[in-house]
């Protein structure tokens, strides 16, 4: 993408006013998205993104600049502009860019970009037919397919010099069911990091039926009850609870500012003993896996909580500088337009031994949140929330009817102490996480867990 001579020149220019560290992140990406709505191929976009982000440290002060023009003149001007905010106190000398190391965390069978548009169209038609075949109440189906093929390069004044190609292919099927005046939607996602050949093995019909069945079930379901109750949270995307309730507060972005609900608690018992949680940038073929993070550091598997004890934060380069904690390869960014910061990768609660049947039979009156939607958190206070996409009442130890519209809220540090049972059925699901360095691909995961008490936001009295 950019040769060593140019990188050297840009870094030299960037360091010319006394910065302690300089880093360039360059990117060249091809993107595609396609929407099939109302039984028709309506929108399709293909694009080419490219640009560079340049970052300098003066002590712990960060200067960041980016531009979409990758020409030599533009990059040197970028470096000049970024450096201009510094002053020539002392100059870094003896800097040497290392040999280019090429990352290959995930092998791609067939690049997503090699698919003909007709293949996506056929895929969408199959999904549409399968979803509409579920029930006459299915009133609308939207299918989307998108991919991104991304080449990133990181070169920094500490010798870092690496490059990686990353491929992401995703499809989603959304069905809307109408039952009288009620309209509810259901959604399923299929994804692949390993390319088209693997993606073709996934059953779009099964995903489409799943989305449609969920929409129909929720359109016919009454409102969820409101109030505090025991909640059993299903596996795979249920892991969003850990991601929101705890994960974000472990990022040094918050910790370094004294704005984390888990600040200063390393080595302390912060969660129930049955809870072990891991953030793993190396997990095989997962959405949040990379060879290098977006600061050029090899990613790693980080045990953040072990049997309830806080073991590590998620640490990026600047976070390490500010806190003194060892970096964990967690510096991530959406694109060259964002300065990196500490972020989660593939985050999950480790499997336990409690049977799901035993969890349900242990609840007199509560909620089984089978499928979770997205959520958000305030890392400083630990206040989190997330939506329940598929919920069922539990009455006297047995599953009762489906309920819709529930959300779960609470305080992260309290909730992770209230996890009382952890199942063996660990599963992961693809997600996307938004924060100050943009949206990054992540995975969330967990086995089925029981939380002894949580506030359910619903509309009917429990």
């Amino acid at each position: 993408m950019l040769d060593k001579g140019l990188l050297d020149a840009v870094l030299d220019r960037a360091l010319s006013r006394g910065a302690d560290f300089a880093e360039i992140f360059a990117e060249d990406s091809r993107e595609f998205s396609f929407n099939y709505v109302d039984r028709a191929a309506k929108r399709m976009v293909r694009g080419h993104d490219r640009g560079a982000g340049l970052r300098l440290f003066y002590g712990t002060r960060q200067v960041f600049a980016h531009a979409s023009d990758l020409s030599r003149e533009s990059l040197l001007a970028l470096a000049e502009g970024a450096a201009a905010s510094g002053s020539a106190r002392r100059l870094l000398t003896g800097r040497k860019l290392g040999r280019l190391s090429v990352g290959g965390a995930i092998a791609v069978d067939v690049p997503p970009g090699s698919a003909e548009a007709g293949e996506h169209l056929d895929f969408a038609r199959r999904a549409d037919a399968a979803a509409r075949g579920v029930d006459p109440a299915v009133a609308q189906v939207t299918v989307s397919v998108s991919w991104i093929e991304k080449d990133v390069l990181v070169a920094a004044s500490d010798g870092t010099h690496c490059r990686e190609s990353r491929s992401y292919l995703m499809s989603s099927v959304e069905a809307i069911a109408a039952e009288g005046a009620e309209r509810q939607s259901g959604r399923k996602v299929l994804s692949s990091r390993t390319g088209l050949a693997d993606f073709r093995k996934l059953s779009v019909e099964e995903a489409a039926r799943g989305a449609a069945e969920l929409a129909v079930r929720m359109a016919r379901a009454p409102h969820a009850p409101a109030g505090r109750m025991p909640v059993i949270i299903g596996n795979d995307f249920g892991g969003v609870i850990f991601h929101e309730a705890c994960g974000h507060s472990l990022e040094t972005t918050s910790v370094a500012k004294g704005a984390s609900a888990f600040g200063g608690k390393l080595g302390r018992q912060v969660a129930a003993e049955c809870l072990t949680a891991i953030d793993d940038g190396t997990a095989r073929d997962k959405w949040g896996t990379t060879a290098f993070d977006d600061e050029g550091r090899p990613t790693e598997r980080t045990v953040v909580i072990e049997r309830g004890v806080l073991k590590s934060y998620l640490v990026d380069r600047l976070g390490a500088l500010k806190t003194g904690y060892k970096p964990t390869g967690s510096g991530r960014r959406q694109s060259y337009r964002f300065a990196p910061t500490s972020r989660m990768r593939n985050t999950y609660i480790a499997a336990g031994k409690d049977r799901v049947e035993d969890m349900i039979s242990s609840v007199d009156s509560g909620l089984y949140a089978r499928k979770m939607g997205g959520g958000s958190v305030n890392p400083a206070t630990g206040e989190f929330n997330f939506a329940v996409l598929e919920g069922y009442l539990i009455r006297k130890g047995k599953l009762a009817g489906a309920v819709r519209g529930a959300s779960l809220i609470g305080f992260g540090p309290e909730i992770i102490k209230r996890v009382t049972m952890v199942g063996p059925d660990l599963a992961m699901d693809t997600g996307s996480c938004g924060s100050i360095s943009g949206w990054v691909p992540t995975t969330v995961g967990q086995p089925t867990i029981k939380v002894s008490e949580i506030t359910v936001g619903g509309r009917s009295a429990s």
Binding site: H66, S68, A259, S376
Partner: protein, 448 residues
């Protein structure tokens, strides 16, 4: 090539090939400064842009974009857009037009902002942070205090003869204060969007954030049940933003809006008016024309509780058989979609103090919109922070509860709007505003 040169080059190339095409170029220059404990911790400067091309053939619009403005790349992008058009289904109304010229909307360019030295902007952030800290010892921290400015240049042209350009400048301050007492922590954020630097009041903003956070300390959980709720302007603006897709002509034709088929019907309480107006001078989402070059206008959406109009792009308007409303928004990375400009519930006559007399709970912070608000159904169940109200006065602060309902049902239950109008944080070309709003009988889930 510059952005305009690249756009014209693309249209010339399209013309030579007999293609009908539109070029949309946008670029932004940004500065962001964040301070922490009186020192700059992050300084950011950016210049980036890209060219989006649409090739329209027989009711099909293929889109492609590039950030590489070389001739080869622009030609490749044009070819990609033309090829893509061939894969799509024809739709009625997809065509390019030379729209009438737009009237100027004053106060949008704001050259004064970029002309002001950076040191003055840094000083504003430091003063804002200090103002938050000086509220009291309980303000433990000010995790975020920052200034941002953006100059956006947009150029849209097509082979039907349209050529329009505009420049939009703006500046913002944002601050989050963290208050702590024992184990309890609460944050409160404030922001201000301005078209003139003199409209930014860092001291006032910092103080408001600090006081907001301290005020929430000692919070209790409300009992679950039906309550009359007073939304702060910002929390109600959040609801308007989350549910604005129900007013989209595209959502309606695609069966995603609960308002489909309800034009001319009563959907809100008698006194409810909702409007969209891109022509208001210097407002946060004002613009002379939309992303297709359609002139901006004022659009009454709900009048006296009666649903009057959907917002449209040119093609959804043609299919619906109405005049275009000028609501196409886009980045160069995607084709046009429907979104509001300045979308608001106008200020009412009562002060928030007077409205408190009719409410049980006042909500000052509402979150979770992206996951727990469903525009397809109108349902929401959102976490909130606020105050219990007794005898029209704020009593204890409240936390760890949700407020739930249905957006359309809520429009029918609006009892009054306050005089304290303000806009929420603008984004993606839209801004949402209202005063405090009193709504009867919403579900509150707390303890019990």
């Amino acid at each position: 090539m510059t952005g305009r040169e690249a756009a014209r080059f693309a249209l010339d190339a399209a013309g030579r090939k007999g293609l009908s095409a539109e070029a949309f170029y946008s670029s932004s220059s940004e500065i962001e400064v964040r301070c922490f404990r009186g020192e700059v911790e992050h300084f950011e400067r950016a210049d980036a842009g890209g060219l989006g091309l649409r090739v329209v053939a027989d009711g099909r619009a293929g889109c492609a974009y590039t950030e590489d403005l070389s001739r080869e790349s622009v030609e490749e992008t044009l070819a990609a857009a033309a090829e893509i058009a061939g894969h799509l289904e024809p739709q009625k109304g997809v065509e390019l037009s030379d729209w009438p010229a737009a009237a100027e909307v004053p106060g949008l360019e704001c050259p004064e902002i970029a002309g002001c030295p950076v040191e003055k902007k840094i000083d504003m952030v430091c003063r804002m942070e200090a103002a938050a800290r000086t509220v009291g010892v309980e303000v433990a921290n000010v995790p975020w205090a920052g200034y941002g400015e953006t100059v956006v240049d947009v150029f849209v042209a097509n082979t039907a003869g349209l050529e329009r350009g505009k420049r939009l400048g703006s500046a913002q301050l944002f601050v989050q204060a963290l208050a702590a007492r024992g184990q309890e922590a609460k944050t409160f954020s404030e922001h201000c969007f301005a078209r003139r630097l003199s409209e930014l009041d860092p001291k006032k903003l910092g103080r408001a954030a600090g006081e907001g956070a301290v005020g929430l300390l000692g919070a209790a959980e409300p009992a679950s049940g039906r309550r009359n709720v007073l939304f702060s302007p910002r929390s109600f603006a959040g609801l308007l933003a989350a549910f604005s897709p129900v007013f989209s002509g595209r959502s309606a034709e695609e069966g995603r809006s609960p308002l489909a088929g309800r034009l001319g019907r009563k959907v809100g309480a008698e006194g409810v008016f909702l409007s969209d107006d891109a022509t208001l001078p210097a407002n946060p989402a004002s613009r002379p024309f939309d992303a297709e070059g359609v002139p901006a206008r004022r659009l009454p959406v709900i009048e006296g509780g009666v649903f009057r109009a959907f917002m449209h792009t040119s093609d959804t308007a043609r299919r619906a058989g109405v005049e275009p409303t000028g609501h196409a928004v886009r980045s160069y990375k995607a084709g046009p979609s429907v979104a509001p400009s300045n979308f608001f519930l106008p200020a009412g006559g009562d002060s928030p103090g007077k409205l408190r007399a009719g409410a049980d709970i006042e909500i000052v912070d509402l979150t979770g919109f992206h996951s727990a608000a469903q525009p397809v159904s109108g349902d929401f169940s959102l976490p909130a922070l606020g105050y219990a109200l007794r005898n029209g006065q704020r009593a204890e602060p409240l936390h760890n509860f949700t407020v739930a309902g249905n957006f359309l049902e809520m429009l029918g239950a609006i009892r009054a709007a306050g005089s304290d109008f303000e806009y929420g944080i603008p984004g993606m070309g839209s801004a949402f505003g209202s005063g405090s709003v009193l709504v009867g009988g919403l579900s509150v889930a707390g303890k019990g």
